[in-house]
Amino acid sequence: MKKREKIDGKVFLLIITILLFLVMYAAGLIIFKSKGFAKPQVFLNLFISNAGLIVIAAGMTMVMITGGIDISVGSIVALTCMMLAWMMEIKGMGAVPALVIVLIMGIVFGLVQGFLIAYLKIQPFIVTLAGMFFARGMTAIISQEMISIKNEMFLKWAKSKINLTFLGGTVNKKGVVNYSFIYPSVIIALIVLIGIFVLLKFTKFGRTIYAVGGNEQSALMMGLNVRRTKLLVYVINGFLCSLGGFLFALNTCAGFVEQAKGFEMEAIASAVIGGTLLTGGVGNVFGSLFGVLIKGTIETFITFQGTLSSWWTKITIAALLAFFIILQSLFAKAKEKH
């Protein structure tokens, strides 16, 4: 009995999430056994195809902990990919300067949104809604046609496999051993994840983010700089969006207007499923990682199943988001009564 008391709402939500992931993965192992779901590579692919999302969900988690939200992330990813493609392919720039420019673009975007939200106190939703349409529109202004990336260095970044020999491999017909592998993007994503975790847990800035989300007024009274903290959160988020966009581009190697549509929903859903409260103050990047993995697993299911339309991913994610939102709301109500 006593132990039960100790588990509070936020831990409980996180446990539900991890359990959900394990159950789903186990179900996959059983249902798609014959199609090779058990291969380590299937699991690694979750990270490979969602490296960008992991980074962006980490940023979203930060934003949501402050009690804010950012629905411009999908469009910023599209803009990032398009800018990269356009600069390298049309303008003939090198991969490195192009990367630097998009990262700066992300920071500037975050700076503007952050200023409007933190200093002019405009609702984050309105600001980032405008940001969402702005970035998507800018993508179309750069080019309405799809641009494929053929820059050599970029493709090298994208395609250099890192073999995980310890996981073993399979031998194909020609006798070549195929090890399980990841791309560098996964490593970047994991570094970012750990970095944000440390930032949130072990720095004054990180704790201030939680304080702002817990009770903005109190944070102010305790002498914390609320406005600067919020601004910085949006700036970091902007940077992570463009970095995530870069990782996204490594997967798709192209830029086009419709890219990453609905990405904001995936990022928000990952954070919420991972235990981040919509009301702010509570959240954890590793929870969000599980949110991303759940989304990835759903996608894998749909791929393995083969006949379902990809729209099912969006619908399932939305349903999961709705489910977790209702769960949160019930928890909040129970707490109030308590």
Partner: protein, 351 residues
């Protein structure tokens, strides 16, 4: 001098000043750039011309803006799912009328059944949003974000990922024109929706309640007004409007195109409300303001099209307009500006 100032103050203080001013500005700039903008001709018994096009195309948006106005007024939040709900309504209607086939040349089911089903679908979406916002107290934008993304997926599922065509003349009428009447049908539909809403708000207490709840929820409670119910109803109504708008949009292209019906219209609808002089924080609202706002935005879009801007690119300009309007509404900005002014003044004194 003072009299002039007072006049300007009175003029700008007038509630509908902002939307009317913007509308005049957009129309005027057209007059200069495109001399033929106001020309109206008759082709095939239907009025034709830029200005008619604006009024016609704006209809979907006007209907959406009506629902959005109520949502904003009651809850101080916005419903960003309206575009997606439009596509759901369109898909439902076409699915019923085609009986699930990809293209039909005559109705499989009665027309009215399709219309009712579409409207019902809109209302159901509104109920879902309303439940999350009013009952579970979830921030309106997050709540409606769910359908914003999933809505088009649902529409895709209904149409099985393809575009369902209804090649029946009578189906096209709602979105184009009825033979013998020179004015496009959507104009009438918008007019009817606006009028009915106006009557509904005036003849029942809904309008009064919505404003009361939006301005002071605590006082409403003590006066026996159920604020959660009112907020719920405003979302349901918004869903209904999105359903009707979706029907019109689907009829225009006599098909259900889940990807494109109502695309980017949520921003336009919010913009129409803001441009109509309504505070996005809720409270007192002007339906007429939002309607004028909607026509202004369509005029802006048409103008930009005429200048060769593609539909994909237009959101850039609209996003800027949104930010400028809400920034101007921001009390923080006013405080900053007045602080700056006093600083400058005192600086001068010291010097």
């Amino acid at each position: 001098m003072n009299k002039g100032k007072a006049f300007i103050k009175r003029l700008t203080g007038y509630r509908l000043f902002l939307p009317l001013f913007c509308l005049v500005l957009v129309l005027f700039s057209n007059l200069i750039k495109t001399p033929g903008f106001f020309e109206v001709t008759i082709k095939n018994g239907v009025l034709y011309g830029y200005i008619i096009d604006v009024i016609n195309r704006a209809s979907d948006l006007v209907i959406l803006a009506v629902g959005m106005t109520l949502v904003v007024a009651a809850s101080g939040g916005t419903d960003i799912s309206v575009g997606a709900v439009m596509s759901v309504a369109g898909a439902v209607c076409c699915f019923i009328l085609s009986g699930g086939q990809q293209s039909v040349n005559e109705f499989v089911n009665p027309y009215i059944l399709g219309v009712l089903a579409a409207i019902l679908a809109g209302i159901l979406c509104g109920c879902f949003n309303g439940f999350l916002v009013a009952k579970l107290k979830i921030q309106p934008m997050v709540a409606t974000l769910i359908l914003f993304t999933a809505g088009r997926g649902i529409a895709q599922l209904i149409t099985k990922g393809q575009i369902t065509y209804i090649r029946v003349e009578s189906y096209k009428m709602l979105g184009s024109s009825i033979p013998g009447i020179p004015i496009p049908t959507p104009v009438f539909v918008a007019l009817i929706v606006v009028l009915l809403t106006y009557v509904l708000l005036k003849k029942t207490t809904l309008g009064l309640y919505i404003q009361t709840v939006g301005i002071n929820a605590k006082a409403s409670k003590l006066m026996g007004i159920k604020s959660a119910m009112i907020i719920f109803l405003s979302y349901v109504f918004c869903g209904l409007c999105a359903g009707i708008s979706g029907l019109v949009a689907s009829s225009r292209i006599y098909s259900a195109d889940a990807n494109n019906i109502g695309l980017n219209l949520e921003l336009d609808a919010i913009l129409a409300v803001a441009l109509g002089g309504n505070s996005l924080a809720g409270g007192k609202f002007s339906l007429l303001g939002s309607v004028i706002g909607a026509y202004t935005i369509q005029a802006l879009s048409t103008t930009l099209y005429a200048m060769g801007v593609s539909p994909d690119q237009i959101p850039v300009y609209k996003a800027i307009v949104v930010v400028v309007i809400v920034a101007l509404q921001s009390t923080e900005l006013k405080r900053m500006v007045s602080k700056l002014q006093t600083n400058v003044k005192s600086g001068k004194k010291v010097a």
